[in-house]
């Protein structure tokens, strides 16, 4: 196992990694920017090293700054968290060049999975179903029309260089196609410097379901069940749960089997997530692989009892999985709600600020992952996630009641502070 791990991230995920390092007896250092000087992760870490000013590109996203920080604190491994450098294959290679372990997927695997067209082609070859669409870019409006009639409407025109919900337009029927095709290519060229687009069937009522996989470097692959992440705002997840509710019997098994097969095909190593769309008929389609620990990983931890960050560290250190697939026995239902400092009544506009009162929920079967505390000042330059509330219950109805109780308990106040809690309450009131 590693002697010192540098955490190259901030917020709740930095604290999450520090916690597991401490539990494993691994020395842990935290890289921080000047505005994160008083962070909860730093308080719990063995060492902290300032890597730059608030803007991420000079700090958390700066490969030289992170590498030099790792060297300065004698780290033999770097945990990138999520976001920032976590899915950057160049960074992973630089780590290797400097004799440090990047705690994540191998760079060549990340590179292949990061190219979405190539990833889809690879998974299709491995037998995973894809959403009907063009495998590659569409060059002309004529070609778009021809392919669109094969795919069927409604469909999406997506910029190849887009991501995170940007560069996507929906086409309801053939009469709209020409106009939207021209608009999307023009916007893509202006925004991403690359006008290439592709077409994909649009499923307005589909659910977003993802499967967690764990792969060691010795060819062992297990899945830890699925998570439903259908409750989103502005293409960002807000509520996740496991197991996925309201899906046809047997579907979860099919999704898991597809994810395990996909992980084998990709030569995946580490913790990773296979994202699928599931339509109302129970058909499912591979979307992409997230080659990182995800924000919603606690949902899986709670139903399986497996510490995913611990497994991530063990796999990165070359160890073997300690359990086989049939020793993974998920039980009950877990739900996670993301409490962000943003205003749901104003299109989820981020609302950084000073948290004068902060009382997280507690008690039976409630877990809170948060870097917040009374007096915490959320800087405006990063994402607005303040806390994740995760609950467990034997069944879904119990978990939903418990989540409502937990959110009722959560007290966050300060001048101008607004959170996603009222929105989460509204969603949880619906039977869904």
């Amino acid at each position: 196992m590693f002697s010192t791990v540098l955490v190259a991230n901030r917020g709740e995920i930095a604290l999450r990694v520090v916690r597991t390092c401490r539990e494993l007896g691994i020395r842990v250092a935290v890289a921080y920017s000047t505005v994160d000087r008083d962070s909860a992760a730093i308080r719990l870490a063995d060492q902290a090293i300032c890597v730059g000013p608030a803007p991420a590109k000079h700090g958390y996203l700066s490969i030289p700054a992170i590498i030099e920080a790792a060297r300065a604190c004698g780290a033999d491994a770097i945990h990138p968290g999520y976001g920032f450098l976590s899915e950057n294959p160049d960074f992973a290679e630089v780590c290797a060049d400097h004799g440090m372990t990047f705690i994540g997927a191998p760079p060549e695997v990340m590179r292949r999975l990061g190219d979405k067209s190539a990833a889809k082609a690879m998974m299709a070859a491995g037998g995973l179903p894809l959403l009907p669409g063009t495998a590659g870019p569409v060059s002309t409006a004529q070609e778009a029309h021809r392919r669109a009639s094969e795919i069927g409407y409604p469909l999406m025109i997506k910029a190849t260089a887009g991501g995170g919900g940007r560069g996507i337009r929906v086409v309801r029927d053939a009469t709209e196609l020409n106009r939207i095709y021209q608009q999307t290519t023009a916007t893509a060229k202006a925004t991403f410097g690359d006008g290439l687009v592709y077409l994909e069937r649009f499923l307005p009522t589909a659910r977003h379901v993802e499967v967690q996989v764990l792969c060691d470097g010795h060819g062992n692959v297990v899945h830890l069940g699925e998570r439903d992440c259908s409750v989103q705002r502005r293409h960002q997840k807000l509520i996740e749960e496991s197991p996925a509710p309201n899906v046809p019997a047997g579907l979860a098994e099919k999704l898991s089997a597809a994810a395990v097969e996909g992980a084998r095909v990709a030569g995946y190593v580490g913790v990773g997530t296979f994202e699928f769309l599931v339509d109302t008929a129970g058909q499912f389609y591979f979307m992409e692989v997230n080659a990182r620990i995800q924000v919603e990983h606690p949902v899986t931890e709670v139903v399986t009892g497996i510490d995913l960050v611990r497994e991530q560290l063990r796999i990165a250190a070359g160890e073997r999985l300690e359990f086989s697939q049939n020793e993974v026995r998920p039980s009950g239902t877990a739900i996670e709600c993301r409490v962000n400092l943003e205003d749901p009544t104003r299109d989820f506009m981020p609302r950084p600020g000073h948290v004068e009162e902060f009382v997280p929920p507690g008690g039976p079967f409630v877990r809170v992952d948060t870097h917040g505390f009374t007096g915490y000042r959320m800087p405006p330059c990063y994402d607005s996630l303040l806390a994740k509330v995760i609950v467990w219950a034997p069944d879904r109805a119990g978990a939903r009641s418990r989540m409502r109780r937990a959110l009722d308990e959560f007290r966050i106040a300060g001048p101008g502070i607004a959170t996603t809690i009222p929105f989460l309450h509204r969603v949880l009131k619906h039977p869904q």
Binding site: C50, P53, I67, E68, R71, A72, G353, P415
Partner: protein
């Protein structure tokens, strides 16, 4: 400035409540008194009350790395002083060197007079050599980091006593 006057003057922010404004005002008042009563002119001052922090230094010419961060309306006038120490800080994480190469003489020695643009040292980050230059006129009073030691971003490297050029 009276407490009420300052509170009125600043009562424009819709997020700032009256009581917080008043807190800022009384902090400002205390700072003024402390400054008035201080037997010697301070070189640096930091005041915080709740979530509000004010940090001030008094060089005659503000230097690049010299920060003055008044927050949320509270402000205290800078008072000119004859001389004070100022820090030159690390622009990046890396390894600090005092000399252009191993065995060579250091760029500067304690006691040297330095001027803006003059190179004082090097930080190496991933084989890139980044020069550290002074941005003020003054006299080097100490070198705060060992040659070859790792430094973090914003870490003070050199202390310079500023010379009154006014």
């Amino acid at each position: 400035m009276t407490l009420d006057g300052l509170a009125d003057e600043l009562a424009c922010g819709k997020y700032l409540s009256q009581d917080r404004l008043q807190l800022l005002c009384v902090v400002s008042e205390i700072v003024s008194r402390v400054l008035a009563d201080s037997p010697a002119q301070p070189g640096q001052l930091r005041v915080s009350a709740g979530d509000v922090a004010v940090e001030i230094r008094w060089p005659r010419h503000p230097a690049r790395h010299t920060k003055s961060i008044p927050e949320e309306g509270a402000s205290v006038a800078a008072i000119p002083v004859e001389s004070a120490n100022c820090w030159i800080r690390a622009d990046t994480v890396g390894t600090f060197y005092r000399a252009p190469e191993p065995g060579a003489a250091p760029f500067v020695q304690v006691g040297d007079l330095v001027s803006p643009g003059q190179q004082l040292g090097i930080i190496e980050a991933m084989k890139l050599m980044i020069p550290i230059c002074s941005d003020i006129d003054g006299q080097l009073t100490s070198v705060l980091v060992e040659d070859g030691a790792p430094v973090e971003y914003d870490q003070p490297l050199f202390a310079i006593a500023m010379v009154n050029t006014g």
